[in-house]
């Protein structure tokens, strides 16, 4: 169902949402008297009835309700004094006119582009791959085109991060919460993670706490992990991506 068809039963109005929008815009109903909160509640009720969220309809609703909210807030809140003095009806009209003219230019250019597109679409280009003998780049046809400095400065950019604060004077702590977050992020982006590859370069304490985090994730059913043999690689998978759920071993 489109948001516009949402049935409303409000104090000042009963009927579909888009009709309300229309009469508000025609100023047949004073927007100040419409309880926008009720509309939102009506919409949420409707969403709850539906098993799933129709993203397009939800977006449409948000756009409509947002524009109503803005309109209403403008009605309710007096404009700043100076703004009112500065912008007489004539100036306001001029400003609006300038914006409309600018938009119109691109609206009409858009119509022109749409025509070009309709015409250009009729021409089809070849998409066949090159014959194999032409696919390999000839090394002797290559001439220097890049400055090695580009690479050095790129490495420099990657090295140049604020230095790690010196924490040698305090006992190092590694937060379980943070390790949980790190592992979750990693698992969110990949289908499987190798422990050594991901955390092998961390210090021992971090590795240990990470292992704790893994135990926790396993307990919560968010991840599974396996180790084929003692000291062998540990493979971690998010729970959703693995059909079977091997236990912890090794």
């Amino acid at each position: 169902m489109r948001a516009a068809e949402l049935d409303l039963d409000l104090e000042v109005f009963a009927g579909p949402f888009d009709l309300l929008m229309t009469i508000v815009l025609r100023e047949e109903i004073a927007l100040a008297e419409v309880e926008l909160g009720e509309i939102v509640i009506a919409y949420l009720d409707h969403v709850e009835e539906q098993a799933e969220l129709d993203l397009e309809a939800a977006t449409e609703f948000l756009v409509l309700i947002a524009s109503l909210l803005e309109l209403k807030s403008r009605l309710l809140l007096p404009a700043p004094e100076e703004e009112r003095i500065e912008l007489g009806p004539e100036e306001a009209a001029e400003e609006l006119l300038a914006r409309m003219l600018e938009y119109r230019r691109y609206r009409d250019a858009a119509a022109y582009l749409a025509e070009l597109h309709a015409d250009g679409r009729r021409f089809l280009y070849r998409a066949a791959p090159l014959p194999p003998e032409l696919r390999r780049v000839a090394l002797d046809a290559a001439h220097p085109a890049y400055e090695p400095e580009r690479l050095t400065s790129a490495i420099g950019d990657l090295l140049r991060t604020p230095p790690r604060p010196d924490t040698s004077h305090i006992r190092p702590t590694v937060s379980l919460e943070r390790r949980l977050r790190v592992v979750r992020e990693l698992l969110g982006a990949r289908t499987a993670v190798d422990f050594d590859e991901a955390f092998g370069s961390e210090d021992r304490l971090t590795q240990a706490v990470t292992l704790f985090a893994l135990l926790e994730l396993h307990k919560r059913g968010e991840a599974t992990w396996e180790q084929g043999e003692t000291f062998g690689p540990i493979r971690i998978q998010p729970a959703t991506s693995s059909a079977s759920r091997p236990g912890v071993s090794g």
Binding site: A93, Y103, A109, A110, A111, H117, R121, Y125, R126
Partner: protein, 187 residues
């Protein structure tokens, strides 16, 4: 058909992208004037054939003769590319004329957020991100695919945008109407 013409035809047949005159001259070991002449002759000799010569995206390219489009879509099972929606066409026009242009600027001119149009145009390869503005907003440009699909020899082949401006009479009428509306509201 001269040897040079044959080779130019063969190169355009093979090339996956439009090829510029200078590149053709270099590959054929000929002058640009010679290439221009060969292209002229080639274009002429293709009249009435199944392949046409087009000048697009800063180069020359062969394309199938448009009347074969339907048969080609049947053979290659290629769906027709959908036409542009109003929002997409407007967004594309703004990027084409104002590039490089940021997303907030597009939204300001269109008066509505244009996220989904920008995204679709990016997915279709008609516009592409091209760095960031001073204020960190992603900025966009049109791509050479845009020029190819719209049959534009280059960006400068776009007509002067002033051509789309309202006539002075239209502008006067619009102003008049706005002023009247303003007066009604204040009275």
């Amino acid at each position: 058909m001269s040897d040079l013409e044959r080779i130019v035809e063969a190169l355009l047949f093979l090339a996956p992208e439009p090829v510029g005159t200078a590149e053709l001259a270099e590959a054929c070991d000929a002058t640009e004037a010679e290439i221009d002449r060969a292209l002229d002759l080639l274009g002429g000799s293709l009249t009435g054939r199944g392949v046409v010569l087009r000048e697009v995206a800063g180069g020359h390219a062969l394309a199938a003769y448009p009347d074969a489009e339907q048969a080609a879509r049947r053979l290659l099972a290629r769906p027709k590319t959908p036409p542009l929606t109003q929002a997409q066409a407007e967004t594309l026009a703004i990027v084409a004329y104002l590039q490089p242009v940021s997303r907030p600027e597009i939204a300001r001119i269109r008066g509505v957020s244009s996220e989904s149009a920008v995204q679709t145009l990016t997915e279709r390869g008609l516009i592409a991100e091209s760095g960031r503005s001073r204020f960190g907003a992603v900025i966009y440009r049109t791509t050479s695919l845009f020029e190819r699909l719209f049959g534009l020899a280059g960006l400068d082949a776009l007509p002067d945008p002033a051509r789309f401006d309202a006539s002075p009479a239209d502008e006067a009428e619009l102003r008049e109407r706005l002023l009247r509306a303003g007066e009604q509201r204040t009275s």
